[in-house]
């Protein structure tokens, strides 16, 4: 392991030692309860047997990388991309892995610091110039009563095109996961990133994702968040290059006592950049969801276009959804907007559907399904749509059948 990577680990360890444990006193953690003590949890011992394929993985066909409890257990070649463990890379790829690892601030929060300090391994995915490639990653947390730190570092070379799909999953039983995804998109390159998290009921996951987008490069992101006692996503996108853009469409559905927490920072630094964030969430039972989105437009980011929209459907009296969109605009040559709403199923569409002969519960299912369709339509990897739709509608149908609504 090269000196840069070692330095990053030290910086992570220092930050971990000095930063406070997340509590609701800290702005970043205002709305969530971490549910475990980072000082008193063991790092997962690797070597557990991987989980069998679930519906989402089966729909994806080939899996190129399997990460279990933070260790890369298997990887196979993908056309147009290099895939390698951090521990196996050297030369140019080692430098790339180190540079990508440097992407995240070690002091972003205590868990990202822990990931830097204690992550056992990582995988580098390098989509090479002029190629079009498709990579599927299956990230699993198997060991119980422990924390793991899966880490993916991705480089899309200039004028390369990468479709990357990452599935996050685990079984029942308590465990913590701190997944990290660092992506650098070169000039004129394109990435289509789809993430689907279906963590088990007692998994507490706090994911960090960071994308840095180069000149005239585009990122299309689709995020699906369905699982976990805590499912948190801390996403930061830096539109560094002139003419760069990001489109993000996300959906989440929380039930029982789940907390789904989305923190998004979209930073416009280059000129003529654009972002469009569209997130839809539903909550039922006692679940809660939080969306905190910040659009930050830097001083020189002229001709910026930035929009964020967050729609929430609250399906039970005790469920909660919070939406906190923010703008921080330091440049006056911009078009920006944000919109958010929290509400129940609308009565007029329900009346219309029922007037054609759908019983109320059937009409409600059709509406819940319809609520998410416009997000599903936009997921860069359409092969996950059918199983994700099943999971989403399944949550609602189960609650209906058990009389939980």
């Amino acid at each position: 392991m090269n000196a840069d990577l070692v330095e990053r680990r030290k910086a992570g360890a220092d930050a971990f030692a000095s930063l406070g444990t997340p509590t609701d006193k800290l702005e970043h953690w205002k709305y969530v309860d971490l549910g475990f003590d980072p000082d008193r949890i063991a790092t997962a011992v690797t070597g557990a047997a991987p989980l069998p394929a679930d519906e989402v993985v089966a729909a994806l066909g080939a899996v190129h990388v399997a990460v279990v409890d933070g260790a890369v257990v298997d990887h196979s070649p993908a056309d147009g991309a290099t895939i390698a463990r951090f521990s196996d890379v050297d030369g140019e790829h080692l430098a790339l892995a180190a540079a990508l690892s440097a992407g995240m601030d070690p002091d972003r929060d205590r868990l990202s610091a822990a990931s830097l300090a204690h992550g056992s391994d990582g995988v580098l995915i390098h989509a090479t110039r002029g190629h079009r490639s498709n990579v599927v990653v299956d990230v699993q947390a198997v060991a119980t009563d422990a924390v793991s730190y899966p880490h993916l570092a991705v480089r899309v070379d200039p004028n390369a095109e990468l479709t990357l799909t990452v599935v996050y999953r685990s079984d029942d039983g308590f465990r913590a996961v701190v997944p990290r995804l660092d992506i650098s998109v070169g000039d004129g390159a394109q990435i289509g990133l789809t993430t689907v998290q279906t963590w088990g009921d007692e998994t507490r996951a706090t994911a960090h994702q960071r994308l840095v987008i180069g000149r005239d490069a585009t990122a299309r992101i689709g995020e699906v968040g369905l699982g976990g006692a805590l499912g948190r996503l801390d996403l930061r996108v830096d539109l560094e290059g002139d003419g760069s853009s990001v489109d993000l469409d996300g959906l989440s559905f929380g039930d029982r006592d789940q907390t789904l927490d989305y923190r998004m920072l979209i930073r416009h630094a280059g000129k003529n950049t654009s972002s469009n964030i569209f997130l839809k969430g539903a909550v039922e039972d006692r679940a809660s969801s939080v969306f905190t989105g910040l659009l930050r437009i830097e001083e020189d980011a002229t001709r910026t276009s930035a929009f964020e929209t967050n729609r929430n459907l609250v399906l039970s009296d005790e469920a909660k959804a919070q939406s906190v969109p923010n703008l921080e605009i330091l440049c006056d040559d911009v078009v920006c907007g944000h919109a958010s709403s929290v509400g129940q199923l609308e009565t007029e569409p329900l009346y219309y559907l029922m007037s054609r002969g759908l019983p109320r519960d059937h009409a409600e299912r059709v509406l819940v399904h319809g609520f998410f369709e416009e997000i599903l339509d936009e997921l860069p990897d359409q092969s996950v749509v059918a199983p994700v739709r099943e999971l989403v509608v399944g949550k609602f149908v189960a609650a209906q059948a058990e009389g939980r609504l």
Binding site: S341, T347, Y352, E373, E374
Partner: protein, 265 residues
């Protein structure tokens, strides 16, 4: 039983405002009736009371092929064979028209294959094939929305079809198309009630009877000559013939739109 829709002494109020004050109206199978009346006379309220919208306190009776509708859920009324074509069909993003019709087929226990063919055939017939893959009423013009409603009637084959203000907001060509669609729906197995406040659309279709509604009651019924009288002399002519005092200020009934709780999804 030859009466498709039999309404007797139907009343409806919202809070202390009485909108329908005892409506009596029969539509036999195989006939097309027109219900006309000035704004605020209660025509749309009648539609929604029949369909089963929960905003109203209702009394009296409304029978479909002999079965009482009042007190039943909206979907139960539809299952009995009632369908309203809405004045303002709501847009439902994310729910595709074809998929919606298929779900209704499932709820009715239809054979999926045969029902799918029925959907395709009726879409062709009413010229809505392009809308099938789109969200319900999403981005459709006024005329297109009405065609979509007619298409749904074609698929669902109701025993009683109530068409609320089917000509509102349409240009002259669209009015004719809607009138032709109504003519296509006419059959011995259905009674059709067309609601309008202009007689224009009646020039494009044959109606068996015209009813005039004012202040929450049917005040006159007759043949096509009644529509001609309205065309020539307006509602005032009917009022003066019947000795009804024109209200100083016709209190507008609370419209469907006003009762919407708009959530911006």
């Amino acid at each position: 039983m030859s009466i498709a829709l039999e309404i007797k002494g139907l009343t409806a109020s919202v809070g202390t405002v009485e909108i329908l004050k005892g409506v009596d109206l029969d539509v036999p199978f195989g006939e097309v009736h027109a219900l006309m009346g000035p704004n605020g006379s209660g025509k749309s309220t009648l539609c929604h009371v029949l369909t089963g919208k929960s905003d109203y306190e209702v009394g009296g009776s409304a029978r479909l092929d002999g079965t009482e509708l009042l007190g039943k859920e909206v979907d139960e009324r539809a299952a009995l064979g009632l369908m309203q074509a809405f004045q303002y069909p709501v847009e439902i993003p994310g729910v595709r028209l074809e998929e919606f019709m298929r779900e209704v087929g499932v709820a009715r226990g239809e054979d999926p294959g045969a029902f799918g063919e029925q959907i395709a055939a009726q879409a062709e017939r009413f010229g809505v094939t392009d809308f099938l893959r789109r969200s319900i009423n999403d981005d459709l013009s006024g005329g297109e929305k009405k065609r979509s409603e007619m298409f749904q009637m074609g698929v669902l084959s109701p025993k009683v079809a109530v068409l609320d203000e089917i000509d509102s907001g349409l240009d002259i060509d669209a009015v004719r198309q809607v009138a032709e669609a109504v003519e296509q729906l006419r059959s011995p197995d259905v009674g059709i009630l067309v609601i309008t406040h202009y007689s224009r659309i009646l020039g494009h279709m044959a109606v068996d009877k015209v009813h005039v509604m004012m202040q929450g009651r049917i005040v006159d019924s007759g043949g096509a000559e009644l529509a001609d009288e309205l065309e020539d002399g307006g509602y005032d002519a009917v009022r003066s013939r019947l000795g009804i005092e024109a209200p100083k200020k016709e209190a507008a009934a609370p419209s469907v739109r006003d009762t919407l709780t708009d959530l911006p999804f």
